[in-house]
Amino acid sequence: MNAIWAIAIVVLKEMIRRKDFYVLFIITALITLVMGSINIFNDQSIAGYLKELALLLIWVCSLVIAIATTARQLYAEKENRTIFPLLAKPVSRAQLLLGKFFGCWLACGGALLVFYLFLAIVAASREHSLDVGSYVIAMLLHWSALAVVVGMALLGSIVFAAPSSNGTICFIVAVAILWLERHLNTVALQTGGILGTITYLVYFITPRLDWAFDAREFLIFHDPMPGFTVLGPALLFYAAYASMLLLTAWVLFRRRALNT
């Protein structure tokens, strides 16, 4: 456990000392604040539009942070050759992967906390009310969904040859899941036949990132928040999916020769 935690701390320090997060946060903050300062025809629902825009930006930024941070981890270790003194210590490859996973996931959690805090402050300043619980649940779901994205990028860094290809593929896949998955079962029903079966198969094996994305509904439109019976299984699903991706990454990585 010590080794996993030690590796995770190094990942966290890297994120804190790099500029990526700060740049993305400043861009999000600037866009949100500029949009928030516009008041069109005294429209009372402007706060809703503002939150929708800010949440979309937060989702894009969180995907960029999760994928960019994770995708470069193993490549950087190999390129700078730090993987050799690290694995020459009593650290197993499973511990290395787990350390990288938790480091990246915690880094995403830290970034999300800052983003959601900013969103809550901006929204509260316009709506003059703050429902802390809905922000906490939305962030929790978002963070859990990012565990799947981090797992995917970590697996990609073992499968793909370059961090750029891994990052691009992961980003396209994540956006495609968010955008298209909710429509896949309708498409499957309409298509029918073998193509319909394949579409259904894709629908069932892809991670349901859209569940977390839909948390916007109760933040923007003040829909009723999901109860524990909905939230619990969703969180368990993300945990199970991330574990499966990590297990696959470990199976591929454990016997791979590392030549110095």
Binding site: I7, P85, L87, A88, P90, N259
Partner: protein, 269 residues
């Protein structure tokens, strides 16, 4: 005439170690990087591991450190099979030309490695102080590694290799790419570790340095062990310095060098 009988167990041992690499090209065949290597390094020795480029030195180290699995044969550290991570608890390893996490300071880097070894917090700080003093980086401990010169980076590498107070140090070309002052400093540190009774296993192309520091050497060529013995015995036997003896052992002649350059062998590792 009396033979010296060793009764101590070797710290590092390989038994008929064979490593093959399959070419990634279609029909590329198999390249034998190591062929039946038997080595034994005993406590307190400074052991030089020599050979031309592509001889199999780094492959041997990669097997010892668990980076590459042997095709056949076994390797042991402190009697433990190198496939078990626990075998690496009492070793320190310095790879060739590593660029440590540049966003960390030397102190943070050493704290990270110390945590991996589960060194208690109180002891951890003392250990960091001691190794930073030993490698003469105490003054730069709070600076990020990205500001370090090459020599300083190599010394921080030595510091990380020493953080667990290892009984065995494995150094892969520790002075490679350093200027004369950097080399001298690293050599002095190795000498100091030798005087402290540490076992040092290192590869180097600097044969003058090996002759000065090492007790025994093994000479590898094309994946096979050509010679193993006391430096003094080899020098006496060939009646020349270690460099000349090395060239004669691997069968180097100006003609063979020209032939090798005309038909280069693919490097396995």
């Amino acid at each position: 005439m009396c033979a010296v009988i060793r009764i101590v167990e070797p710290i590092l041992k390989t038994e008929n170690l064979r490593v093959e690499f399959r070419s990634k090209e279609v029909g590329g065949g198999v390249k034998v990087a190591l062929n039946g290597l038997n080595l034994a390094v005993y406590p307190g020795e400074t052991f030089g591991f020599l050979g031309p480029n592509g001889a199999g030195k780094t492959t041997t180290m990669n097997v010892l450190l668990g980076f590459v699995n042997a095709t056949s044969g076994d390797a042991f550290l402190f009697g433990q099979n190198v496939r078990e991570p626990i075998a690496r608890q009492r070793i320190g390893y310095l790879p060739e030309l590593t660029y440590y996490y540049k966003f960390l300071t030397a102190e943070e880097l050493l704290r990270f490695y110390a945590r991996i070894f589960n060194i208690p917090k109180s002891e951890r700080e003392q250990r960091i102080d001691a190794v930073l003093k030993l490698v003469e980086l105490d003054h730069a401990r709070k600076r990020q590694i990205k500001t370090y010169s090459k020599g300083m980076q190599q010394r921080v590498g030595l510091a990380q290799a020493l953080i667990n107070n290892p009984d065995l140090l494995i150094l892969d070309e520790p002075t490679s790419g350093l200027d004369p002052i950097g080399r001298m400093k690293v050599r002095e540190i190795i000498q100091r570790l030798k005087n402290e009774g540490k076992t040092v296993f290192f590869s180097s192309h600097e044969l003058g340095e090996v002759e000065t520091i090492c007790d025994r050497v093994a000479i590898l060529h094309q994946g096979e062990l050509k010679r193993e013995g006391q430096v003094s015995d080899i020098v006496r036997e060939y009646n020349c310095d270690l460099e000349q003896a090395f060239l004669r052992i691997i069968g180097h002649t100006p003609q063979s060098a020209a032939a090798a350059e005309a038909n280069p062998q693919p490097q396995a590792a």
